[in-house]
């Protein structure tokens, strides 16, 4: 028979052992030898605080009552860990870059460092966790009572309460000692982590030892155990689908959202690679923890007397078989489960309370604008110590008030669903940039309220908080608000009912409110940082050029981080800026970095507020962002202006190049023109000079003299005509021609032109249709007639056929009057058609035509001056010219 004193001695020895281990770990960490403390094995084992006394003892009871359903509590975390690539990896990365201190800090920091959200999550966590701490105290005292009973003593309630109180005090001392020892910038507690890792080994070993004893020591091997299972009351496994799915979901959610789990999973993690190992090692740990649960339950039900509490089979079964050593081991396993959970949960809650409630309150209570005086460090540490005491006291009070009865046993799942209300805000914050603080606040508040109404308050029992009539008829007779049948949907499993409605309404509120409201700039910056954490390695630059002086910042940092740490940071920064000493330039980058360092100690919202005091609110405001946007727009406009200018210059350059080419071409033309004109002038001049020489120098017969004088006369006429043409062309080209606009009939103009051309019927037959020619035109009739004369005489000169004909056709094309002159000659070859309107261009020998080749050129210049045109008309039987008389003038008179 085991003596009670021995049990107490073993317990105290175990606790002392844990203290020593934690102390040794702290010392090693202080010496900088932390490599093995950050190993994957320690990380995986520290995750085992998920397995509390509720799972150590309670799983067996759960299996005895509901068969394999207890597995769901382990399957959820298994899914989360083997799916680490989705979420856990991202959370750990965010936790490291943002220096998160708790799950409240995650939510607060993500949603614009909102202080209100931090408080909300903290309150939710306290409400959800306090009963859980009470449950741990209960399990320890119950297991102690078992040993007391077996040694012949029967404990009164007062004794149980006393034991619970001593356990609570011991845990408070441990947590204060190792949890608030240093205000670490990374919020990592090597002593505690190592102690809970050791406890994790102890509880796994204890449960495996009991399991092995039960299967091989009592049942007689695996086969007989299986037979025993199939022969028990739980022979057929009939899970309820809704509970099965709901429990897997809620345990997965709780694994991520429980403050203590977030503490070990994210905050205490120092190396992302350890997560990869934990992704398989932790599921393996859970597997081993649950491997022998069903055999212990079945064998316990088989061997233990009717009415024995199945929650305690792990201890009572070895005890009943006389295996006292094994029973003590099992007791230590349960003790380890309870204490490790309480220590980490208390620490996580205390951090949240001090960072999100006490320190901000303390800062607000001070006169605004005054710089921080007094030792903030002391305030933070003291507030944490007090919080630890208060939280454990709350747990103890809850334990006393609830009477330690069966009501507590259900609190595990109630607590899970409660903390899971943070999940939508967490998932939304990490994956959806659109989630904002209004949405997160609404979601958490709605979820919290629905959970409290449908599960938390009813968990105290009928008539405890909610009366029987409210259960039956709803509050104030509103039937659709009944706690177990929201919206009138009756008959759901109460647990599934609470999970479904709280999570559904929570998520819906988050999404709807986020979509309908607008986040502030800081939220948007933080949102981008969280969602795209893999893209940004550095932190957000949320501080603009600040008014803070380096010395003020150093003074403040020293108060929070401690002198040595703060000086180290400032010195490193000064060095990286190339300065000596402790005072770097206050750049936005530096302030951002300092804020993250501080937030590692006091939380993001508080750090932000403290820096805000010193920098006199020089943080980014909407106006700043707008100013930045304006500046950017200006720069963009300027650059587009530059672009336009450069395009314009390109165009100008191109135009200049073209003009230059034209000028060059004109210059060549001018040269050609001059040489042409001198040639044209010299030919008649030569003959005039020779004949006048003959007349002067020699005796010439009368007949010959007359002939020579005639030649001189003809040549002079030719010269005169040439000079007239040249003058005419010069006037026309310069555009200074005087137009004598008058109205007349086209037929008159043509008649005059035919007459003036001096063409006789035997030279050229002119065919006309007088009916078409009765068109009134308003133009310079003299000039138009000049064009017609030119075209008619050209036809007479060049049409080299036996019976030359010229058809003059007047038409209306597109509202314009055109006059076509078509002869029946050889026409103009294709290659020459573009040249005939040029000056001095003649297709044949100059002498024959007796002109200088200016006729068509003058025609074109005249028609251009009149606003019309003259073009060569190809495709006729001979040469064809089309004169286009300007439309507006022609039409105006019709």
């Amino acid at each position: 028979m085991i003596s009670f004193n021995l049990l107490v001695f073993v317990s105290i020895a175990y606790v002392v052992f844990l203290f020593l281990i934690a102390f040794a770990a702290e010392r090693r960490a202080a010496q900088g030898r932390t490599a093995w403390l950050r190993s994957s094995a320690i990380y995986t084992l520290s995750l085992s605080i998920y397995c509390t006394a509720w799972t150590f003892y309670g799983a067996v009871g759960y299996a005895a009552r509901s068969g394999l359903e207890f597995l769901t509590i382990y399957l959820g975390p298994t899914l989360v860990m083997i799916g680490w690539w989705w979420l856990v990896r991202k959370l750990v990365r965010i936790g490291r870059t943002q220096r998160l201190t708790s799950i409240a800090d995650l939510i607060s920091s993500r949603f614009g460092k909102s202080a209100v959200l931090g408080v909300l999550v903290t309150v939710l966590a306290i409400v959800g966790t306090t009963p859980y701490i009470a449950l741990q105290l209960q399990s320890v005292t119950q297991s102690i009572a078992v040993f007391a009973a077996s040694s012949g003593e029967v404990w009164a309630a007062a004794d149980l309460n006393g034991a619970a109180m001593w356990v609570a005090i011991g845990l408070a001392v441990f947590t204060v000692l190792f949890g608030t020892r240093n205000l670490d910038a990374h919020e990592r507690h090597h002593g505690i982590v190592l102690a809970i890792a050791v406890e994790a080994v102890v509880k796994l070993f204890a449960l495996l030892a009991v399991g092995v004893f039960v299967v091989w020591g009592i049942a007689g091997g695996v086969g007989p155990t299986m037979d025993l299972i199939d022969a028990s009351v739980q022979s057929q496994w009939a899970p309820q689908p809704s509970r099965w799915i709901g429990l897997i979901f809620v345990s997965a959610a709780a694994f991520l959202c429980l403050p203590r789990m977030f503490q070990v999973l994210v905050v205490e993690n120092s190396d992302e690679r350890t997560v990869s190992t934990a992704s398989w090692a932790f599921p393996a740990y859970l597997l081993l923890m649950s491997l022998f649960v069903v055999p212990i339950a079945v064998v316990g039900l088989d061997l233990m007397p009717e009415g024995a509490n199945p929650d305690l089979f792990v201890v009572t079964l070895p005890l009943s078989q006389g295996r006292e050593g094994l029973a003590i081991l099992a007791f230590l396993g349960g003790f380890s489960s309870a204490t490790s959970m309480v220590i980490v949960a208390t620490l996580a809650l205390a951090t949240m309370v001090s960072n999100h409630i006490v320190v901000p309150g303390w800062l607000n209570a001070r006169t605004p604008g005054a710089t921080i005086s007094g030792d903030v460090r002391g305030v933070v540490v003291m507030s944490r110590r007090i919080s630890i005491g208060v939280i454990l006291a709350l747990g103890y009070i809850y334990f006393r008030l609830s009477g330690g009865g069966a009501a507590l046993a259900a609190i595990g799942l109630v607590s899970f669903v409660g903390v899971a209300q943070v999940l939508p805000a967490m998932i939304g914050g990490v994956f959806w940039r659109g989630a904002n603080r209004w949405g997160a606040g609404a979601g958490i508040a709605v979820g919290f309220a629905v959970w409290a109404w449908t599960q938390f308050l009813p968990s105290f029992g009928v008539d405890a908080v909610i009366s029987q009539s409210v259960f039956a008829n709803g509050p104030l007779g509103i039937a659709w608000l009944r706690p177990t049948a929201l919206f009138g949907i009756d008959g759901m499993d109460p647990l599934v009912h609470a999970i479904f409605w709280s999570m559904f309404l929570n998520s819906a509120a988050l999404i709807v409110v986020s979509i309908c409201t607008f986040p502030n700039p800081l939220e948007r910056i933080q949102g981008a940082q969280f969602v795209n954490v893999y893209d940004y390695s550095s932190g957000a630059r949320t501080w603009s050029q600040s008014a803070a002086r380096a010395e003020d910042l150093l003074v403040m940092a020293q108060r929070i981080l401690g002198g040595a740490e703060a000086q180290r940071i400032f010195q490193a920064e000064a060095q990286s800026q190339g300065k000596k000493g402790f005072l770097p330039d206050v750049t936005p980058d530096f302030i951002g970095r300092l804020e993250r360092e501080l937030s590692g100690s006091v939380g993001a919202a508080t750090a932000h507020a403290m820096i805000g005091q010193l920098t006199e609110g020089a943080m980014v405001s909407v106006d700043d962002l707008i100013a930045v946007a304006d500046e950017t727009a200006q720069i963009m406009e300027y650059s587009s202006q530059l672009e336009a200018k450069s395009a314009e210059q390109d165009r100008t350059a191109r135009a200049l190049r073209e003009a230059n080419e034209k000028l060059t071409a004109l210059s060549i033309q001018k040269d050609a023109f001059l040489s042409q004109i001198s040639h044209e002038l010299r030919t008649p001049m030569t003959s005039i000079r020779s004949f006048s020489d003959i007349l002067r120098d020699s005796e010439v017969e009368d007949e010959a003299r007359k002939k020579f004088a005639g030649i001189i006369h003809d040549e002079t006429n030719r010269l005169t005509r040439l000079l007239d043409d040249l003058l005419d062309l010069g006037v026309l080209e310069s555009g200074q021609v005087q137009l004598n606009v008058a109205t007349g009939l086209l037929v008159d103009v043509l008649d005059r032109a035919v007459m003036a051309s001096g063409v006789h019927d035997h030279d050229l037959v002119i065919l006309r249709r007088a009916a078409n020619e009765a068109v009134s035109v308003n133009t310079d009739l003299e000039r138009l007639s000049q064009v017609f004369i030119n075209l008619i005489s050209n036809a007479a000169k060049y049409c080299a056929v036996d019976a030359p004909e010229l058809r003059i056709i007047v038409r209306h094309l597109n509202g314009q009057t055109v006059v076509d002159f078509c002869d029946n000659g050889a026409g103009v070859p294709d290659e020459s058609q573009s040249l005939i309107f040029e000056k001095f261009s003649r297709l044949e020998d100059a002498g024959k035509a007796g002109g200088a080749g200016l006729g068509l050129s003058i025609c074109r210049q005249i028609m251009t001056a009149l606003g019309g045109d003259v073009t060569y008309l190809p495709g006729q039987s001979g040469a064809g010219f089309r004169v286009t008389i300007p439309a507006e003038i022609a039409l105006a008179e019709q």
Binding site: G67, L68, L71, L75, T78, L79, V80, M81, I82, G83, W84, W85, W86, M226, I229, D230, S232, Q234, S235, Q236, W237, A238, P239, P241, W244, I245, I248, R273, S276, T277, S279, W280, P283, A284, L287, L291, V294, N532, Y534, D535
Partner: protein, 91 residues
């Protein structure tokens, strides 16, 4: 994400790493589906869906999950670069 000048086609090594990440993402999905399978087991007579078969099935599934997670974590651990993480969604 546009604007990073992401690469459309990867070389063999990086491609393999991407597929391993896909595997790591898909593992919990498959595991979850298989965990729901026993809900569909027949339960017409008392000798169907015995708790012992449930234990064998669930723990067998669990061991396979742990093993696959172990292999994946080992393979992903040898991943050399984290820098191209923002291209994680590239097919």
């Amino acid at each position: 994400m546009a604007g990073y000048g992401r690469i459309e086609f990867l070389e063999r090594g990086s491609y393999r790493q991407r597929r391993l990440r896909d595997a790591a993402r898909m593992l919990p999905v498959f595991a979850a589906v298989l965990m729901l399978l026993p809900l569909m087991w027949p339960r017409d007579t008392p000798d169907q869906s015995l708790t012992s078969s449930g234990i064998l099935y669930m723990f067998g599934l669990w061991i396979i999950c742990v093993f696959v997670a172990f292999v994946l974590s080992f393979l992903l651990r040898s991943e050399p670069n984290e820098k191209d993480e923002h291209q994680g969604k590239t097919p």
